[in-house]
């Protein structure tokens, strides 16, 4: 307090100016901090992009960030020689079917749980939440693989897809919230109009859930697209079935001869690109999903 009084002889104008310059300083520091973190978030992506356009020689010995000569042919080489066309197709295949399957199974279960007090509901929900919390890591992959051998699916992408769909607990819990948000009166009105349990699902719940389905689909698609360990284990001996993540990591050991870092970066950009493009258009949905998991 006494220091404040000591400063009192200052004129009002001086005080105002010092407050203003203090504010300016703190604003500058704040923005410096924010931009620094933004640079940290973007630098690997930017370096990967510029690096993917350099020659192997420039990438390993050059000292500038920008490529001297923009070698777009790296992408062509990755696409053709390094088999990224195949990897991309496999990734798309897995992600699309996993998303469709997860949404179908998740919405059906969520609708039943949200609307009917069926016998064993508590047990079912408990089992679902247990799968979220218990994690014994890679151990589960072994019995899962054996099961797929039993079904004769270990040599196709369907094995991976079915296992990814079976891990739908997160989507299920998100979808329950969405179904509960649909007013029950709508179901009842539909029942009076002659709908049954199934037609209410198809004609009332699903149409009203569309925006929520989009958000859940994005979430599931991202998970399947980025999955690495499961497709790795299932395609170890079958290069033709590998996804982008698996094929890309395989480049670490070189294709035939020495490792080619410029191809690794081109491949990395190819596999990041679809997610980044989707993100640019739908970043609000992505963030809404994450935020929603806290509000629960």
């Amino acid at each position: 307090m006494s220091t404040l009084h000591a400063a009192a002889p200052q004129t009002a104008e001086q005080t105002a100016r010092s407050v203003k310059s203090k504010k300016l300083l703190s604003r500058t520091l704040l923005w410096l901090f924010l931009l620094l973190v933004a640079a940290f978030a973007l630098f690997p992506i930017i370096l990967a992009f510029f690096g993917s356009l350099k020659t192997n020689l420039e990438l390993t010995t050059g000292t500038t960030m920008l490529p001297k000569e923009w070698k777009f042919s790296n992408y062509l080489q990755a696409w053709n020689t390094a088999n990224f066309a195949r990897f991309t197709w496999n990734s798309v295949f897995i992600s699309v079917f996993t998303t469709v399957g997860t949404l179908l199974i998740g919405t059906m279960a969520a609708y039943a749980v949200a609307r009917v007090n069926f016998i064993g509901k508590k047990l079912y929900v408990t089992i679902q939440s247990c799968t979220l919390f218990i994690s014994i890591g890679a151990v589960v992959l072994r019995p899962q693989f054996d099961l797929m051998v039993g079904l004769g699916l270990q040599k196709s992408l369907w094995g991976v897809i079915i296992i990814l769909i079976s891990a739908h607990a997160t989507a299920f819990f998100m979808l329950i919230g969405f179904v509960r948000a649909v007013p029950r009166e709508l179901d009842e009105a539909a029942f009076i109009d002659g709908c049954n349990f199934y037609s209410v699902y198809f004609r009332v719940i699903l149409p009203l859930l569309t925006p929520a389905l989009g958000v859940t689909a994005l979430w599931t698609f991202r998970g399947a697209w980025n999955e690495y360990i499961l497709p790795l284990v299932f395609t170890m001996t079958q290069p033709a079935l590998q996804t982008l993540t698996v094929g890309l990591a395989g480049l670490k050991y070189g294709i035939g001869d020495a490792a080619q870092p410029q191809l690794m970066l081109a491949g990395a950009c190819l596999s990041m690109l679809p997610m980044i493009v989707v993100y640019i258009f739908a970043n609000k949905s992505f963030m809404q999903m994450t935020a929603g998991s806290v509000k629960g």
Binding site: L34, V116, I136, V294
Partner: protein
């Protein structure tokens, strides 16, 4: 009658989900609970050996070394990630020009695959010819290239990658929590003459309480479990310096080309899987207990 029909209807809708979960989610856990008492290497007849696997586990230096590494890895990641994402959340929760764009930039890393990013970091952090070293040496910040993936710095590099991928996610979770705090509390505090720090300690932290506790618990379990990016980056090397427990576990089931054991060990692996799950569970419980105590004192 109608009620019975409704029961059946509901069950037909839950059945696909339940069957898939039981087969691919629950059965593997019981598989592991069985084989952790067996000597089983994937071929031949599994041999029941009682608690021998656990005896071996307690003597397995490599495993306990990986547990220590896991704590360093998870601890280092959380020590930076949580405060940083909290600060960002507090800043970006206020009216600030361009905050939507900044949020989107910070969150961007979370949409990219950990394994893909590990490859990118592997190339740009490469010891003698990686782009990061080129830029650091070129601009004179360091005099000699840093061996980012060598024995000395590999774990640090892995932690940097983990932080890079996590900050945006936790920032967003914190923002969601902050938005639940009523604005008038801050207004009332301002009228009473509270400064920004005072408001932080007397309103934000206590009001965020349960959400904060949940987010930190989530962060702890997620960071103890993460091993994908390390697997791609270093496979646990060099000399086991980046071996974390879930990666060690993975190698017991799917031996990798470089380092570690080269024989599949399903029986022992199941025991290790059980132990890692228990370790994660214990830490979560301890955290839960301590944070509850702290809440009570507060």
């Amino acid at each position: 009658m109608n009620q019975a029909k409704r029961q059946i209807n509901a069950w037909t809708f839950v059945a696909p989900s339940l069957i898939l979960t039981l087969i691919f989610g629950v059965y593997p856990i019981f598989w592991a609970l069985k084989y952790m008492f067996y000597d089983y290497q994937g071929f031949g007849e599994p041999l029941y050996i009682g608690l021998d696997n656990f005896e071996r586990l307690f003597r397995d230096k490599e495993f306990w070394h990986s547990v220590v590494n896991t704590f360093i890895y998870a601890g280092g990641k959380l020590l930076i990630t949580l405060p940083l994402s909290f600060i960002l959340a507090v800043i970006l929760n206020r009216a600030l020009k361009g905050r939507q764009l900044l949020r989107a930039i910070y969150f961007l890393p979370t949409v990219i695959s950990a394994s893909v990013m590990a490859i990118v970091f592997y190339v740009i952090f490469n010891s003698y010819n990686g782009m990061v070293n080129q830029l650091l040496v070129g601009s004179g910040i360091v005099s000699a290239p840093i061996d980012w993936l060598g024995p000395k710095y590999a774990l640090l590099t892995a932690i940097i990658i983990a932080i890079w991928g996590a900050v945006g996610n936790y920032m967003l979770l914190f923002i969601a929590g902050l938005q639940n705090i009523p604005e008038d509390l801050y207004e009332a505090a301002s009228l009473d003459g509270a400064g920004p720090l005072r408001k932080m300690w007397s309103i934000t932290v206590p009001m965020l309480g349960p959400v904060l506790q949940m987010i930190i618990m989530l962060a702890i379990t997620v960071s103890l479990k993460g091993y994908e990016s390390i697997m791609v980056l270093t496979e646990g090397g060099p000399y086991g310096k980046t071996e974390v427990m879930y990666l060690y576990l993975y190698k017991l089931f799917f031996p990798v080309s470089s380092g570690g054991t080269s024989i599949q060990q399903f029986g022992y692996g199941s025991a290790v899987g059980f132990a890692t799950a228990v370790i994660v569970g214990l830490i979560t419980l301890i955290y839960f207990y301590v944070s509850k105590k702290l809440n009570d004192i507060y």
